[in-house]
């Protein structure tokens, strides 16, 4: 049983709550799937220190997924473990950016950087959300994300300004990932009313803030933003061919014995 949140000034109307829940599920799924992809480097990163660092980042993102799923549960009653382990591909709402295989080190670093930068602008904006649980969650995650952002910007400096080979790999990763990253700003049909109500920041201005930061930074590390301004898909209901395989891996043990207790 969840008690009413004392920080919530006023419980949102049912339709609003439903819309907020959809956004929460989307964000939670993004964090979960990215955490899973990142965790695939555990034991395989180029050096031990980085193995530790990137595994930490994966664990942080999983923690953030847990916060979003928790807020989703407050609104819908759905249990996070059930959502994660027993939902089929069609019911997932992550963007394709996080589904793509981990690729080489440059690919994973560029993806994490683009995502970290999105989190920077989004969490900053959410601090002013009229839906207090969102503002509280953003305040909780923001300092942790500062460590990620510093880490991935450092890596991109090393790789972008490193050798011709490291720059080439980063550029290839950026060319491939950029359009996928844009999907994070694709306004979902249910979000219009939330933006108007001040619950969510405006996706267009978030994208503008993100591009300002990211374009300026990438230019300093000799990486060129590709000339693409549309994501391959807008809808979070469409998934890449990589998600089923990822979920099969993620859900395998839980589904072997759904009633197992820890």
């Amino acid at each position: 049983m969840t008690e009413p949140d004392p920080h919530l000034k006023e419980a949102p109307a049912e339709a609003t709550a439903k819309a907020i829940a959809q956004t929460l599920l989307a964000w939670a799924d993004d964090e979960l799937i990215l955490a899973h992809r990142n965790s695939e480097w555990t034991g395989h990163a180029p050096i031990l220190e980085e193995d530790i660092a990137f595994s930490n980042i994966a664990q942080d993102e999983l923690g953030h997924a847990n916060i979003w799923y928790g807020l989703y549960q407050d609104l819908t009653g759905a249990e996070p473990d059930k959502l994660v382990f027993f939902r089929d591909v069609d019911a997932y709402r992550c963007v394709q950016l996080v589904e793509l295989p981990k690729g080489d080190w440059a690919f994973s670093m560029v993806r994490q950087y683009l995502f970290d930068a999105v989190e920077q602008v989004r969490l900053n904006a959410l601090l002013a959300s009229e839906y207090q649980p969102l503002a509280d969650a953003a305040a909780k995650m923001r300092p942790e994300e500062m460590y990620h952002y510093r880490h991935t910007t450092t890596w991109l400096q090393r790789l972008g300004l490193g050798t011709a080979e490291s720059n080439r790999r980063c550029q290839e990763a950026l060319d491939q990932l950029w359009p996928y990253a844009l999907q994070l700003f694709a306004r979902q049909p249910w979000e219009e009313q939330l933006i108007v109500a001040g619950f969510l920041p405006d996706t267009a201005s978030l994208q503008a803030d993100w591009e300002t930061i990211v374009r300026a930074f990438l230019a300093t590390v000799d990486l060129q933003v590709p000339n693409v301004n549309r994501p391959p898909g807008q809808s979070r209901e469409q998934h890449s061919r990589y998600l089923p395989e990822l979920l099969a891996d993620l859900q395998e043990v839980a589904r072997l014995d759904p009633d197992a207790r820890w």
Partner: protein, 166 residues
């Protein structure tokens, strides 16, 4: 089943919670860590403890929650609720002076106080918990647990860990 009327006081509960440690840093209590935010005893004798997570992805969270519940139950309280709250967000500034001393004795450099203005740079100076030198270098901002960074001390030539500021 009859409901046991508890005569436990809020002070007794705070004292009992001193025995609950963070499993990843078994020398510091959850009270010293600033994790326990509020303790209430209702008129009916039910106890509500409000706790807040340190790092969002901390795997010790559920263990801590369970151990808080056990510690309060062991005082003879039948109805114990442990609520997890997110706001205000936990900060390392809440770790008490006693907690900081214990971290240091454990070999973990205590996090510097930042007064709410957390900045993260590569030039953060950590004080070596072994020899108190500040002639130290960061080796990895991430460590064996989410809350630790790895440093090296150039004076006593020992690697050490610092509790990361949050």
């Amino acid at each position: 089943m009859s409901i046991r009327i508890s005569s436990v006081t809020v002070d007794q509960i705070w004292a009992a919670l001193q025995a609950v440690k963070d499993p990843e840093i078994p020398v510091v209590s959850v009270v010293e860590m600033g994790i326990v935010r509020e303790v209430d005893v209702t008129d009916e004798g039910a106890v509500v403890v409000k706790m807040t997570p340190t790092f969002s992805g901390c795997p010790a969270l559920h263990v801590i929650q369970r151990e808080i519940k056990t510690a309060v139950s062991d005082l003879g309280v039948g109805d114990v609720t442990v609520d997890t709250i997110l706001a205000p967000a936990w900060t390392t500034d809440w770790i008490s002076d006693a907690g900081r001393e214990k971290l240091k004795a454990f070999g973990l450099a205590p996090p510097p106080q930042h007064g709410g203005n957390l900045t993260i740079t590569f030039f953060d100076v950590a004080t070596c918990p072994y020899c108190d030198s500040t002639n130290t270098t960061i080796k990895n901002t991430f460590g064996p647990t989410l809350c630790r960074a790895i440093y090296y001390c150039h004076d006593c030539r020992e690697p050490f860990e610092q509790f990361k500021s949050l």
